[in-house]
């Protein structure tokens, strides 16, 4: 037990040490400054601009920025859908898999374009290497880059002085892919491959085992996908059991590395923000609020899992809850991963969430319910948190009777309305979709477990999809694949696939547009000098207030739903 806490403490120290380094680098990339990779990548970057026929210096107002982003995402969706639907005639399909059904492909395309990576399919049993590489992994890069680009644009809106430009979407996209995601992913992929994460184009291999049985080993270009899947907070596993599978995550070392990849960018962005606005304290204040909530999440899930489950106690089995966990990860690294993958919007798992204890499973749900702002997705986490910062400023302003302002800009009715759209869209989607999904047979046919766990599965499914996380209580099913070669007879559930897909798209793009609109509105405002009466947003008091707002918004919205599922199971030893 003490050993587990030591692992967490060391992890936090290492993470916090990384933040200023990567944060500085990110800020430089956002501001178009020279970095150490510029001599190598600069020519490629300029080649890209020529091919795309854009001038990186051409500023776009928020509407133009949003239009470029939406057009790009729409084409991305169409291409991915096309690949998924035609993989049977495309190359690199050693297992000869058929193409996906329309409803499943709709869900999957929506999932990867929105940085969600919710998976109703199992990778190693349905997808060709081409679909994984050229379809899914490309969106792992691009959806992450889109999220980070929006953040960069929003920060520019905060610091602009009576301007309208938020930057250039195409330049942001290109620079983030070339200078941030691709170099780190390449390096990480090679390190992972050196540790046993497979990276090959060979098809599966049948072996005769030591005890005289047979086993078919599935392979693929896994390391290259694993690296960006964690780095871009995407989370879609090459294999169905995700990073629990040893070919994705073979050792204690790779486990730690992958956890770092998930958190590195989201944790460094507040620092980058602080550097860009010229107030590093402000960056650290937001980081402090995030890390405080994260520490609580880790502690609760670890303590709950150490306690063991009612099912194992009924059988007289002591120790912690090892059901659905791997030996090499143990309870400590499974708990840490579980917290990291749900505070960030990654959603990759190294343990089975459906088999977490009641309270252990409540933690990922609670993390998601904050709207993915405790670190959150790359870019989307911080821009979501900045909306809550504005809300906190507004509430604090009401309490002390002053016009609320942030970074010297007045926060007025228009901004507050847009902030509320950004903050409340996702919870509304979650609650409506969950209610719909448990109300009739179309939705409940996806449920696997009986009793309150069945409700938890449904709530988790729509919580995860609306918040673009992608982790699951994986008993929840949207796709059946009878044991037939080439996916013959495979079918998706219309209800689960379509509702989920729509929820992911709305959960991604509605808040994103509201956030860009806020940035556009703020960009045009003058900056007032900080007076003696100004409420400081970089103080410990503010950190506490911000945490309060995050927790209260989530708790007021979701507390009744939590009681119906995971809380019931955490409070009783009864079996269902």
């Amino acid at each position: 037990m003490a050993q587990g806490w030591l692992q967490f403490a060391l992890f936090l120290v290492l993470l916090t040490a990384l933040v200023p380094l990567l944060g500085t680098y990110l800020a430089k990339v956002f501001q178009g400054e020279r970095v150490f990779l510029t001599p190598v990548l600069g020519p490629i970057e300029r080649l890209g601009y020529r091919a795309f026929r854009v001038r990186p210096g051409d500023g776009q107002d928020w509407k133009a920025y949003a239009r470029s982003l939406l057009v790009f995402s729409l084409l991305s969706w169409l291409l991915l859908y096309l690949i998924l639907r035609t993989q049977d005639v495309l190359p690199l399909n050693p297992e000869g898999f058929g193409s996906g059904p329309w409803n499943l492909s709709f869900n999957t395309a929506s999932s990867f374009v929105t940085n969600t990576n919710w998976q109703y399919y199992g990778g190693e049993t349905t997808l060709s290497y081409f679909a994984q590489m050229a379809g899914l992994a490309v969106q792992n890069f691009l959806s992450a880059a889109v999220g980070i680009a929006v953040l960069a644009a929003v920060v520019r809106g905060f610091i602009a002085r009576s301007a309208s430009s938020l930057g250039n979407f195409w330049a942001d996209l290109t620079r983030i892919v070339l200078y941030v995601l691709l170099p780190i992913a390449t390096l990480a992929a090679l390190v992972l491959a050196s540790q046993g994460v497979v990276q090959t184009l060979s098809g599966s291999e049948l072996v005769h085992t030591l005890a005289g049985g047979q086993q078919t080993l599935a392979f693929g270009p896994v390391a290259s996908q694993e690296a960006i899947k964690e780095l871009g907070t995407n989370g879609g596993g090459f294999f169905n059991v995700n990073s629990a599978f040893p070919f994705e995550n073979p050792s204690s070392f790779t486990n730690l590395l992958e956890i770092f990849l998930m958190l590195s960018i989201p944790a460094s962005l507040p620092y980058a923000f602080g550097r860009m606005i010229g107030n590093r304290r402000q960056g650290w204040a937001i980081y402090a609020a995030m890390i405080a909530m994260f520490v609580v999440a880790v502690a609760v899930v670890f303590a709950a899992e150490q306690h063991g489950s009612p099912a194992q106690h009924a059988a007289g089995i002591g120790g912690g809850n090892m059901e659905g966990k791997e030996i090499r990860n143990g309870i400590a690294q499974s708990s840490l991963w579980t917290a990291v993958t749900t505070v960030t919007s990654t959603g990759a798992v190294n343990a089975a969430f459906d088999s977490l204890t009641g309270i252990g499973g409540l933690v990922p749900l609670a993390n998601l319910s904050t709207g993915e702002v405790i670190f959150g997705g790359v870019g989307s986490g911080l821009y979501g948190m900045l909306m809550l910062v504005l809300l906190t400023v507004f509430i604090a302003g009401l309490m002390v009777g002053r016009t609320p302002e942030f970074l010297g800009k007045k926060i007025e009715a228009r901004e507050v309305k847009l902030v509320l759209v950004a903050v409340l869209t996702t919870p509304l989607l979650v609650l409506v979709a969950t209610a719909w999904a448990v109300a009739g047979h179309d939705g409940t046919m996806s449920i696997y477990n009986a009793g309150p766990q069945g409700f938890s599965e449904s709530l988790y499914a729509y919580m995860s999809q609306a918040n673009n996380n992608g982790s699951a209580f994986a008993g929840y099913t949207g796709f059946l694949q009878p044991n037939a070669p080439g996916n013959a007879g495979a079918e998706g559930f219309d209800f689960a696939n379509l509702l989920g897909g729509v929820v992911m798209l709305l959960g991604r793009f509605l808040p994103l547009l509201a956030v860009l609109a806020v940035a556009g509105s703020l960009a045009g405002k003058r900056v007032a000098p900080l007076g003696a009466g100004s409420f400081r947003a970089d103080s410990p008091t503010f950190v506490v207030l911000l945490i309060g707002v995050v927790v209260i918004v989530a708790a007021l919205t979701f507390f009744p739903a939590f009681l119906l599922g995971p809380a019931v199971q955490g409070l009783t030893d009864q079996l269902f």
Binding site: A189, F239, G360, G475
Partner: protein, 198 residues
């Protein structure tokens, strides 16, 4: 309208360029480098016995209850390495409790013959629970030390020798700190076959 049309051409060009770069160049270059630099690891860390591949050291396999072998953890997938899924039963599931009880009884019966003092309280949790991957290559050290008595008796080896082999095949925490130690079952069984062929 003009702006939209320009966005469409730019988006199409950019998407094509990024698909070539990120969807083909990146994974293929990574594959090339990994295959040259780490051929064993990138190809699945295969284990050979007498020149024949018997599996991967990272992927657990079914030892079919053979008393001369260490046995891996229960698996929801019968150790499938190409169709993977979780057990997915919840913490308060009656079905799961019954599964644990059955695994517990089987373990007691199998090991109790060679370790008559073995009690339910001593059974390590990993011996009755399914792993996440279904192919966990490891078992806990406590689990291996219990099974060592059976394996030693069946193979007619001194218990100390078998325990020493267990120690040799125990993989520690990263940097002595992160993760948990575990015993690699396949490698241990291969070593046993070399030491005392059945």
């Amino acid at each position: 309208m003009n702006g939209l049309r320009r966005d469409l051409t730019t988006a199409a060009t950019a998407l094509l360029a990024f698909t070539l770069l990120l969807g083909l160049a990146y994974p293929l270059a990574t594959t090339g480098v990994a295959q040259l630099a780490f051929p064993g690891a990138a190809d699945g860390s295969k284990v050979e016995v007498d020149g024949r591949v018997v599996g991967s050291e990272l992927i657990g396999q079914d030892f079919g209850g053979e008393p001369g072998y260490f046995q891996g953890r229960p698996s929801a997938t019968e150790y499938s390495a190409n169709v993977t899924y979780f057990n997915n039963l919840g913490p308060n599931s009656r079905e799961l409790a019954e599964f644990f009880a059955a695994q517990r009884d089987a373990y007691l019966k199998r090991e109790g013959r060679y370790d008559p003092g073995l009690t339910v309280a001593e059974i390590p949790a990993d011996a009755v629970t399914t792993s996440a991957s279904g192919v966990d290559p490891q078992i806990s050290v406590a689990n291996a030390r219990i099974q060592a008595r059976r394996v030693a008796a069946v193979r007619d080896l001194p218990l100390e020798r078998v325990l020493a082999l267990v120690d040799d095949h125990t993989e520690g925490r990263f940097a002595g700190l992160f993760g948990e130690p575990g015993v690699n079952v396949l490698k241990l069984n291969v070593a046993l076959d070399q030491e005392a062929p059945q």
